[in-house]
């Protein structure tokens, strides 16, 4: 059995989807485009069912790209001989708007179950009154569920079982259903303006009809007013504070600082456990597996490389925790309200703020999120500047580099000093985003009028279920996406580090006495690495990166991290684990700190570290982002411009910083 979820934004669709699927869900893309597609599975009495969650829409007249996806998906269902059952979710807090879509879906002739999503404070009699009235009016089944608590979900499954053989309205091309589907298609395909009068007429008629659908006037008005007043008063009280012209910004700023401190401090303990766990795994591999090339490849190549990624899961989880809380609670839309006027001079809209903030987590979903921006120019500028926002993949690089500069115990007042440097880097990323946006805004041709109309949802307690699933899904995709690259890169690195084609490499590899007696084991390891394929490759690019203060080892990491930034730490871990010839179990930071130049000075001086930080803050080092940009802009023009501008400015600024400071 197949089920599709449709409904208004913020009506509880995704909560119900999570309730049905639990962990059995995947978030992919619709073919050829980048609007996220949530699909999952569940069972009813042992029968497997698949379920898809469509982007939220208010009506079948699509404005933005993601609305078009939902409308086209529904129009495609209508053509099927046996379409899936569509659950039309209606938020009991605002049924009026939801009935508009419901009436259109019914007219499309799809098999529909109307599902009222209610919250704790809604009375059963209020819901029942709605159900009685609408069942009589539309002749389709209606049920009530509490998507957050799961109440009513079993009854809904029973109804799905009963409805699976529901007969669909005739697909006769002359039928009213086909006529309506053809009209919707025409209204969405035609040039803006040509059908507007007919669309507004249709919407007005449906709204008037929805008004007439309200249950018995005295009853509903009383309950409606009670529930509206309750939610409005709570929302108004919070809005007075969170949307205040001073306190609103202060609270938003403080919440950002809290997020960064949490990402740094709270995650320190689990990170330590993960590091120790991988260290132990590496030792156990060496102890219990036969001593040969493959064991070394696993313990010194793959395990340190993977550890370099998994160790950052706690930080990424905390970041997604806060983003999920902002979105779930309804606060994110208040941020749009506060920020719209401030970002408008940069060619951005308030809608750009959510993708930009999401860019703090990962540029890929953030670029996907720009689909909700209707103005193409604002959308393009937002996409171009998102990669400057400090994504979670930079956290491993930043934390490693910051730890090279200062101790984890250093503090400024009550704040952890490392946390403050990280905060400054986040500010730098945001500054570069806006600076680039301003330049793009001045340079690019003006497009059509931009519009910002958004519903402000009532505040609600975030659902723990939804928040946990968001964190799980995002962390999983980060580890798996990055993990695949890391395993390949780690293995390739290990192989390239253990193969060399010059005499020195072969002599060291054959333990020739000439070398064994002349050098210490650590010096021998370094010499071997220098003469391996990877060492030669790093040395090949050294002339280009030397003016930035980087040596061939950093060069290797720069090459590998063009696939993904976080590979920098994995590569460094692999290089330094290889270099120290085995017994030294000190962390990557300690190993890098103790690395010296031939003149005895520290290799990772302040100038080098700052230059690296700036390089990683700006350079376009993420193949997936380039791929998403290509898909989203439909060509190589904008990803190429983005790559050249980002990486070029990264090189020049890093060069400037090193030359000024050294």
């Amino acid at each position: 059995m197949k089920v599709v979820l449709a409904g208004n934004p913020n009506c509880g669709k995704t909560s119900l989807f999570n309730r049905f699927t639990g962990m059995n869900q995947k978030v992919g893309n619709y073919p050829g485009i980048t609007v996220s597609k949530r699909e999952g599975s569940f069972t009813i009495d042992g029968e497997a069912c698949s379920i898809a969650d469509l982007p939220g829409i208010y009506s079948l007249y699509a404005g933005s790209e993601d609305e078009k996806i939902a409308v086209n998906a529904l129009l495609d269902l209508q053509k099927l001989e046996k379409p899936p059952i569509t659950l039309c979710i209606i938020d009991i807090q605002s049924p009026h708007k939801n009935l508009l879509l419901l009436s259109q879906l019914i007219e499309l002739g799809l098999p529909i179950i109307g599902v009222f999503n209610y919250r704790k404070k809604t009375t059963t009699s209020e819901v029942n009154d709605w159900i009685k009235k609408l069942e009589a009016k539309y002749n389709i089944p209606f049920l009530a569920v509490n998507a957050n608590s799961g109440e009513g979900v079993d009854a809904l499954k029973e109804e799905l079982k009963k409805s699976k053989n529901q007969v669909v309205i005739s697909s006769d091309p002359n039928s009213k259903v086909a006529e309506f589907a053809a009209w919707i298609k025409q209204a969405n395909d035609s040039a803006a303006g040509s059908n507007i009068l007919k669309i507004t007429k249709d919407l007005r008629a449906r709204l008037e009809d929805a008004d007439g659908s309200f249950p018995s006037k005295t009853f509903s008005t009383e309950h409606k007013q009670n529930s509206t007043q309750q939610s409005h008063s709570k929302t108004s009280y919070l809005d007075n504070l969170l949307m205040h012209h001073i306190w609103g910004y202060v609270i938003f700023g403080v919440s950002l600082i809290v997020i960064f401190q949490a990402v740094f401090s709270w995650s320190a303990y689990p990170m330590e456990w993960i590091e120790e766990g991988f260290g132990l795994l590496s030792s156990l591999t060496q102890t219990y597996l036969p001593a040969n090339f493959y064991t070394n490849a696993i313990s010194d190549g793959i395990i340190p490389g993977l550890a370099g990624i998994v160790v950052f899961v706690p930080q990424i989880s905390f970041l997604f925790l806060f983003i999920a809380l902002f979105e779930e609670s309804g606060y994110m839309t208040r941020v749009v309200y506060l920020m719209d006027r401030l970002v408008k001079p940069f060619g951005l809209s308030g809608r750009s703020v959510v993708p930009l903030i999401s860019g703090y987590a990962c540029a890929i979903p953030a670029i996907m999120a720009t689909r909700t921006i209707k103005n193409p120019r604002e959308k393009l500028i937002t996409m171009l500047v998102i990669p400057f926002m400090t994504c979670s993949a930079r956290i491993p690089v930043y934390t490693t580099l910051i730890a090279l500069m200062m101790s984890s115990e250093a503090s400024v007042g009550v704040f952890n000093a490392q946390g403050l440097v990280l905060f400054a880097l986040y500010l730098f990323g945001a500054f570069m985003s806006f600076f680039t946006a301003l330049i793009a805004h001045k340079v690019m041709k003006r497009g059509g009028r931009s519009m910002l109309i958004m519903e402000l949802p009532n505040y609600k307690m975030p659902s723990i279920n939804n928040v946990v699933l968001t964190i799980y899904e995002k962390s999983k995709s980060f580890v798996f996406q990055a993990g695949k690259i890391i395993i390949l890169v780690s293995l390739a690195l290990y192989l390239m580090s253990n193969i060399g084609f010059n005499d020195t490499f072969e002599k060291i590899d054959n333990n020739e006495t000439e070398f064994v007696n002349q050098f210490t084991p650590n010096e021998l390891a370094q010499l071997k690495l220098e003469n391996s394929i990877i060492g030669q490759l790093g040395k090949f690019i050294e002339p280009a990166i030397r003016p930035l203060g980087y040596d061939w080892k950093i060069g290797i990491s720069l090459i590998t991290s063009f696939a993904a930034r976080e590979v920098f730490v994995g590569t460094m871990s692999t290089i330094y684990a290889l270099e120290d010839a085995g017994d030294d179990t000190s962390s990557i930071v300690q190993k890098m700190q103790s690395d010296k130049n031939p003149d005895g000075t520290a290799k990772y001086s302040l100038a080098v570290v700052l230059s690296l930080l700036v390089f990683y803050a700006l350079a376009m080092q993420c193949l997936s982002t380039i791929a998403v940009m290509y898909k989203e802009t439909g060509g190589w023009k904008w990803p190429s411009i983005q790559f050249v501008v980002s990486t070029g400015s990264a090189y020049l600024l890093a060069l400037l910083i090193y030359q000024l400071m050294s």
Binding site: Y61, G63, S94, I199, V336, R341, G350, M451, N458
Partner: protein
């Protein structure tokens, strides 16, 4: 008067929307022609307005508020 010039927290009636695309979006959100609403607040520096009726609260930019004509309803 234009919505952007209307007083805050007074009952208003939408009497004209001079942009059809804007009207579609407003209709979808329950703020069409002849609907009653309240202007609640405005973000600093001529930022977006928040507008509500008994069911929904929305935000819209001041230039869009300029395209909506409203009249004051007598207070209850």
């Amino acid at each position: 008067m234009k919505l952007s010039q209307a007083p805050f927290n007074e009952p208003l009636l939408v009497i004209q929307i001079s942009d059809a695309t804007l009207e579609i979006k407003l209709l979808e959100l329950g703020f069409g022609f002849k609907s009653e609403c309240n202007l609640v607040r405005q973000a600093p520096f001529n930022g977006p307005f928040t507008l509500n009726n008994e069911k929904t609260q929305i935000i819209l930019r001041s230039e869009d508020a300029n395209r909506i004509e409203v009249s004051l309803l007598p207070s209850l």
